[in-house]
């Protein structure tokens, strides 16, 4: 099985790719101008910020980035395309021959990365169609892979790694991801076009793999075709588009020029997946927990990096979880705050919301002291068990009681819930024996 992808991600720019319209507006057809509606006489002017982001994506995906990049016209007729051509890239894309590594180090080759404009949005109603040009001309980057993805697991991993790399470049693609999926189990290639969102992409792949497997087993055969994904049914169906390679008649976009990629502001790529592995090994914590924490969390990563080696990494992870749970609306917690919380956790304490907020506000002078000893915790647990002995007989079925006891002990001693749970389990099982 071979899977290749074309992923379209929209770039987080304030204005569109070739005009100064906003990239988003609530009311349809309000963020529009003569350029993005293709009015005769208008001319495109490149948004250099978008070029900069595209070049940084190409660099992060380890592409060869040519010193100069240029645009072409791709001509086709469709109601969402106001000029009847899309300004995109062909011979001078921002990047070629890149790569992305999966968790186990397997390399997926990136064929090319190009910058282009998004068409308008079509809203199909029962017996008519509406067009919203707000989206027309918003910047997209298309990432094309070689067919190196061999199964669903690799596809999922690829998407996670890609999204994490893009996340750290400031490109959040969860909402606006669009992809074309090339998938072949035999030597016949099937393309599933215009899939929106990662979940649909994975579902479409799953369906398509099963469909092709069945077709091969039943000797029905597979035909080379373009299909589309039907979200409601979680299936794919042949689309009405022609099978032949379309004739786009590409020519150089003569209203634009050749742009240097050297002028762009380089942003250093962050490979959070690789860092998670490194930290997990170095600080003896689970890689999965580390990935969970930093793949899509630049604050968490910054905190870990700023506190390297000073505290036990398990305490750091707990402290970050606590800070992110309680200190909302603050994009960045200081490493000083993190240090204080982590040192409490290290001592076996589990600070509550009030404590965290006090630390954050700098009013933490009386938080010293030591955490409760295991003996103290055990004593408290036993006392509570005595008070609730009737209910506790069925504690396996009644988690409420269990949680009540854990909560009470936690509150009294600012104890770590994991520790309290462990002790409680132990005591309860000794009772039964």
């Amino acid at each position: 099985m071979k899977i290749g992808l074309e992923v379209h991600v929209s770039l987080p720019t304030e204005s569109k790719l070739f005009c100064s319209c906003r990239t988003y507006a609530e009311e349809p057809n309000t963020a529009i101008c003569p350029v993005c509606t293709g009015m005769p006489g208008s001319k495109p002017v490149l948004n250099e910020r978008a070029l900069s982001i595209a070049v940084n994506i190409a660099r992060a995906l380890m592409c060869k980035v040519p010193t100069a990049t240029s645009f072409v016209r791709k001509v086709y007729f469709y109601p969402d395309l106001p000029k009847s051509f899309q300004i995109t890239q062909k011979d001078g894309p921002v990047g070629v021959d890149g790569k992305l590594f999966l968790e186990d180090g397997k390399e997926i080759r990136i064929r090319r990365i190009q910058l282009e404009e998004d068409p308008a949005k079509i809203l199909r109603q029962d017996d008519y169609t509406l067009i919203d040009f707000n989206r027309s001309g918003t910047p997209l980057v298309e990432i094309v892979t070689e067919p190196d993805i061999l199964n669903e697991k690799e596809l999922r991993e690829f998407m996670t790694e890609l999204k994490s790399i893009l996340y750290y470049l400031g490109v959040d693609i969860d909402r606006e991801l669009k992809a074309d999926l090339n998938i072949s189990l035999s030597d016949v290639r099937v393309e599933v076009k215009n899939i929106t969102g990662t979940k649909n992409l994975l579902d479409a792949a799953k369906y398509e793999i099963e469909r092709q497997e069945k077709a091969i087993k039943s000797k029905q055969g597979i035909i080379h075709e373009t299909r589309s994904y039907i979200e409601k049914e979680m299936s794919t169906a042949p689309s009405r588009e022609k099978e032949s390679d379309e004739e786009y008649g590409f020519i150089f976009e003569p209203d634009l020029t050749i742009y240097s990629t050297k002028r762009t502001n380089p942003v250093k790529a962050v490979y959070a997946s690789k860092l998670a592995k490194e930290y997990a090994n170095k600080y003896k914590v689970k890689e999965a927990a580390m990935r969970e924490l930093i793949l899509f969390n630049r604050d968490a990563l910054a905190l870990i990096e700023s506190s390297k080696g000073k505290y036990d990494m398990k305490a750091i992870i707990t402290a970050i979880e606590l800070l992110q749970r309680y200190v909302k609306g603050k994009s960045r917690t200081s490493s000083e705050t993190l240090g204080k919380v982590a040192s409490l956790v290290e001592k076996g304490m589990y600070p509550d919301k009030e404590t965290i907020l006090q630390i954050e506000a700098g009013k933490d002078t009386n938080l010293g002291g030591n955490a409760a000893s295991t003996a103290e915790i055990d004593k408290e647990i036993k006392q509570l068990i005595k008070e609730n002995s009737a209910l506790l007989k069925e504690y396996k079925k009644n988690t409420k009681v269990f949680n009540f006891i854990v909560g009470s002990v936690m509150k009294k001693y600012k104890a770590n819930p994991r520790l309290v749970s462990e002790r409680l389990e132990k005591i309860l099982s000794s009772f039964r024996q």
């Binding site: 002017v45 000029k83 008649g249």
Partner: protein, 449 residues
């Protein structure tokens, strides 16, 4: 003192504008210079705008049925700069549909030559040239892709200037072939043009290809004649032109005869690039948001688009078909890519010649033709009429057409080409010529007495 400044400074008699407009409307009924004329002419020097250049709130059709009713929501940069500098908008001038033509006949009502109405005005900026030829105080904003300023200026006996590619912003110009399109100026004297060029040139944030350079006037006092161009043309045109060359020699210029490699490839290269780009520019006319449209919205979009696109004229359709062919994947290398290489080669060769002096030629290979006769020409015969105007246009070189003689009551014109950025040298040369040669006009609408 230049005549524009003089006109702007003097007091106009009462009712001047009304009289001008009424005389102009009357003349326009016969000559078809304007697609529309303003209702109210403000104070200031009147200027006309070729109908492929956007004027806010004024119907702009590029003389195409498919753009009927298109009213731009913005001014072209060139128009805005004129308005900001004391010029008054007079009207939109007639042209070959989208600029496709050398005689003005690809328009619903072709413009007529003011010297004799049975003769062609030239194209594609036919109306701009006619307007300049009939209005005493006026400048025309025109546009050239392959000779659309030189040709009509020559036939209507006015001065037509096409600057270096990128000198004047194309923002607001309805594209024919973006890498070749140049907004330029027509007037009754080189000095008027120089004044307007000073206003219009300069960079524009809305046009990426606009230039930010200083325009020079360098003159080596040498004139280059490209022999291949002067052979094989109308014999009268050739002999009159050689007589003119003698006069130039008399003005102290050294005349040099040169032959130029690849010059025969200029016409095919030009038409391939121009049509390839035109076919993409014309793709947007699908009858959706403006202009001609099918009122039946029930068909599928392919049929809807096809129906709307039937509104194109024959020459536009021809260029869409040919242009789509030359850029299609299977033949692109043979045509479009080859033409781009030839353009670069031709520029190299022209630059070699221009390092020695200015290039001079007749503007057109024929005398002013009768409208009847040009209608009989095949498409290929039509394209060959651009033999003199295409080389500088293909390479974006500044050039100027100006009358040098009158034969049987019709003007004969020459075209001078200079190097990139040496635009003022072309204008200064013609100013020098104008000191010893007085242009003739049949109309002087708006003359101050």
């Amino acid at each position: 003192m230049n005549s524009i400044k003089e006109f702007m400074a003097c007091d106009k008699p009462d009712g001047y504008a009304e009289k001008l407009l009424s005389e102009l409307r009357k003349a326009n009924e016969r000559l078809n210079a304007f697609n529309n004329i303003t209702e109210h002419l403000a104070d200031g020097m009147p200027f006309s705008v070729k109908d492929n250049i956007c004027v806010k709130g004024v119907e702009t059709t590029a003389s195409s049925k498919i753009l009927k009713g298109y009213i731009p929501a913005f001014n072209a940069t060139a128009v805005q700069r004129m308005l900001d500098n004391g010029f008054s908008f007079l009207g939109k001038t007639n042209m070959d549909e989208f600029g496709f033509g050398s005689f003005g006949i690809n328009s619903e009502n072709p413009a007529r030559n003011p010297f004799d109405e049975s003769y062609a005005a030239g194209g594609s900026s036919s109306g701009a040239a006619v307007a300049t030829s009939i209005l005493k105080h006026h400048v025309a904003i025109a546009e050239s892709t392959g000779g659309s300023i030189s040709a009509p200026a020559a036939f209507c006996g006015v001065v037509g200037f096409t600057p270096t590619y990128g000198a004047i912003s194309r923002y607001g110009l309805i594209d024919y072939a973006n890498s070749l399109d140049k907004i330029g100026i027509m007037a009754r004297s080189a000095s008027d043009i120089k004044y307007v060029f000073g206003i219009l040139n300069g960079p524009d944030a809305k046009d990426t290809t606009s230039l930010d350079i200083k325009y020079k006037s360098e003159n080596k006092k040498s004139i280059i004649l490209i022999d291949q161009l002067i052979k094989n043309i109308d014999k009268d045109v050739e002999s009159n032109f050689m007589g003119f060359v003698d006069r130039i020699e008399g003005m102290g210029y050294v005349i040099k005869h040169r032959s130029m490699p690849f010059i025969d490839k200029a016409i095919p290269s030009y038409y391939i690039i121009a049509m390839a780009e035109a076919s993409t520019n014309l793709a947007k006319y699908t009858g959706f948001k403006y202009g001609f449209k099918n009122e039946d919205f029930t068909s599928n979009y392919n049929k809807f688009f096809t129906d709307a696109r039937s509104a194109f004229g024959t020459e536009a359709k021809r260029r869409i078909v040919l242009g789509t062919f030359v850029r299609s994947a299977s033949v692109k290398d043979r045509y479009y890519s080859q033409a781009l290489k030839l353009r670069a080669l031709l520029l190299q060769e022209l630059n070699k010649l221009l390092s020695e002096g200015f290039i001079l030629s007749p503007t057109m290979p024929i005398k002013v033709p009768k409208l009847e006769d040009v209608k009989k020409l095949s498409a290929l015969e039509n394209y060959k009429m651009d033999v003199m105007t295409i080389p500088p246009n293909l390479c974006g070189l500044p050039h100027i057409s100006f009358p040098y003689a009158y034969k049987n009551g019709m003007p004969l014109a020459a075209q001078l080409t200079t190097s990139h950025g040496n635009d003022n040298a072309a204008l200064d040369f013609v100013q020098e010529w104008e000191r010893s040669f007085k242009y003739k006009f049949k109309y002087n609408i708006g003359e101050l007495r």
